[in-house]
């Protein structure tokens, strides 16, 4: 009992001995597990099943398993006919570019605000924080116009990947998470490096960045999955079908594609984010939990 004391939650060891809890809890646990599996994995399994069926099978019996046999050829067909491969390639280019621009801006920005701390730092921090509180809808249309014609430069970024990469980097959340992490690095380490004669650039590349691998990983994951999920923005700034990521392409090609191939295409589109998530679930869930802390 004493050994278990710090482990307790709402339900105590005493409660667990009571028959109602002892037998009731596992029952709720199993029921909830079934519910979670049906809601979480069910749609994906159904998608896999339908992606390997004929269109007639999907229409006749949405819940029956392959009455006409498994159609393995659907996957290569979707890859070639729907050109899923090239759309996935665009999605990957968009995700990697967004990742690089986000990491570049948020690590250098957080380095200034947290480590160098110039006099004007708090003003910048305030302005970054303020954008967290302003609803995104206010900048949707003017941001689009900015992409059509960049002020001062006059460039038109429409139908270039820069139109997605650059605005992605202006994310206040990433900068604040990164700044918070840098803030926790002991000042003594930074001072010691300075006494050793490290320049700001060296301090950044040789001390701060290597020490921040965990948070960089979290921001990287959230950015990649986030840009994989994006729809409205790439729809607006990439009207050229050859540049569109998979989420923009899918609703468009849906109208002209066979049902079974649609399902294969959807399955291929969901595969990479799900696999990424399953591999890095620990870092990922911690990152999402952290976003709640920031919002508080």
């Amino acid at each position: 009992m004493t050994a278990e004391a710090p482990e307790r939650g709402i339900i105590s060891t005493m409660d667990r001995r009571r028959p109602l809890v002892r037998y009731g809890l596992p029952i709720i646990q199993v029921l909830l597990f079934i519910g979670v599996v049906i809601a979480g994995v069910g749609p994906l399994l159904w998608l896999l099943k339908s992606g390997l069926s004929t269109s007639q099978d999907i229409l006749k019996g949405p819940l029956s398993l392959w009455p006409s046999g498994i159609q393995w050829h659907n996957v290569p067909d979707a890859w070639n006919q729907v050109q899923i491969g090239s759309y996935l390639g665009n999605t990957a280019i968009i995700a990697i570019g967004s990742l690089l621009s986000t990491l570049f801006v948020c690590t250098t920005g957080a380095f200034v605000l947290s480590v160098l701390r110039p006099k004007w730092g708090p003003v910048i921090t305030g302005l970054v924080l303020a954008t967290l509180f302003l609803p995104g809808v206010i900048s949707l249309v003017p941001l689009y116009l900015t992409i059509l014609k960049m002020p001062v430069f006059g460039w038109n970024l429409q139908n270039t990947f820069w139109a997605v990469w650059l605005p992605q980097a202006a994310g206040a959340f990433n900068i604040l998470v990164m700044k918070r992490y840098f803030d926790a690095i002991p000042r003594e380490l930074i001072e010691a490096a300075r006494i050793d004669g490290a320049s700001n650039l060296r301090l950044f590349t040789a001390l701060i960045l290597p020490m921040s691998k965990p948070i960089i990983g979290v921001v990287a994951l959230l950015t990649v999955i986030g840009s994989w999920k994006d729809y409205l923005w790439p729809l607006l700034v990439l009207p050229d079908p050859r540049l569109q990521p998979i989420s923009v392409a899918l609703p468009r090609v849906q109208k002209t594609t066979d049902l079974s191939l649609q399902m294969s295409a959807l399955f291929l589109a969901v595969l990479i984010p799900v696999v990424l998530f399953l591999i890095f679930q620990k870092q990922f869930l911690r990152g999402v939990g952290m976003s709640g802390g920031i919002k508080e």
Binding site: L63, P118, P135, I138, V141, L250, L266, L285
Partner: protein, 310 residues
């Protein structure tokens, strides 16, 4: 703190009268260089567009001829648009339904998972899966689930002798159907945030409540919920702000139909800007919506602050 850095990097003696040369040597320039990416991206893609949006809402522009000032006419145009009342009601309805469907599920899930010592992570991973599915894929998939003829939902309801329902094709069911999908997609993320908050609840509080004779449910009601009330209130506000700006779901599920039953305010903004090319009207409506959301946040903040003190 800035003083401290400067003392350690530069010559303390020159600190009182800094010449540009010493400022340069002490690393003042490199601060600016390091801040440049942040300032430029925010200037171009965050602060700039916000200011530009405010300006645009008072202008008439078609991107060809120079913009001209038209005062409040964009605002009076969007406010008298006969589509606005319907879109407002739809958006409020969406937010209300999302709150009713979406609010209790993640909270219940999080409280329960936090009690599981060994298998909690598994529940977590599985319940978060829908949140990594790209929204477009989820919507196209659910669109098929809702198919009136051969969809999965009608097939399951048929086992119980119910249906078939028209789901997305019915003006009454379309909005609840969309909210159901949105709840499915969003519940996992919210529950993870609650879970993170729950780890901060001190166990002594439960022990004390137990000694006072509180049962399990009373402990949840009187200890757990009040302890994470702050984050619950914030998640509610964020959810409201998010649902007021919903776009992808109604756009892809129904395109605003049937019979305008799912036209939301953001769908109207999209139509103004990208179908009619009326950027002035679109930004005017955006500004109005943003204004409402800011007022809502402030009012909500004061209301809930009052609650938490009593």
């Amino acid at each position: 703190m800035a003083v401290l850095t400067r003392v350690s990097t530069a010559h303390p003696a020159t600190q009182s009268r800094r010449s540009p040369a010493t400022w340069l040597r002490s690393g003042g320039l490199s601060s600016i260089l390091f801040a440049l990416p942040l300032v430029l991206t925010f200037l171009y893609f965050s602060w700039g567009p916000i200011v530009r949006g405010l300006v645009l809402s008072f202008q008439k522009t078609n991107l060809v001829t120079p913009a001209e000032w038209v005062g409040m006419s964009n605002f009076s145009y969007v406010l008298t648009d006969p589509q606005l009342p319907q879109a407002t009601i739809n958006t409020l309805y969406f937010a209300l339904l999302a709150l009713i469907f979406g609010f209790p599920v993640p909270l219940f899930l999080a409280v329960f998972i936090s009690e599981l010592r060994k298998t909690g992570w598994l529940y977590n991973v599985i319940s978060y899966l829908p949140a990594v599915v790209p929204p477009v894929v989820a919507i196209l998939l659910w669109k098929y689930f809702y198919d009136p003829g051969s969809g999965v939902f009608n097939a399951i309801l048929d086992w119980f002798g119910l249906g078939p329902y028209a789901w997305l094709n019915s003006p009454n069911l379309a909005m609840p159907a969309i909210v159901l999908e949105a709840t499915w997609a969003g519940a996992g993320a919210t529950s993870i945030i609650y879970l993170a908050a729950l780890t901060g609840v001190r166990n002594e509080l439960y022990e004390a409540a137990e000694l006072d004779g509180a049962g399990i449910w009373r402990r949840v009601w009187h200890v757990t919920i009040p302890q994470i009330r702050g984050i619950i209130l914030i998640m509610m506000l964020l959810q409201l702000i998010g649902t007021f700006q919903v776009f992808t779901e109604p756009f892809l599920f129904t395109g605003g139909g049937p019979d305008n039953a799912t036209t939301t305010i953001l769908l109207l903004i999209y139509r103004y800007a990208f179908i009619n090319g009326d950027f002035g009207a679109a930004t005017a409506l955006s500004v109005l919506l943003a204004l409402v959301l800011c007022v809502l946040s402030v009012v909500y903040h004061f209301l809930t602050r009052r609650w938490s003190t009593t």
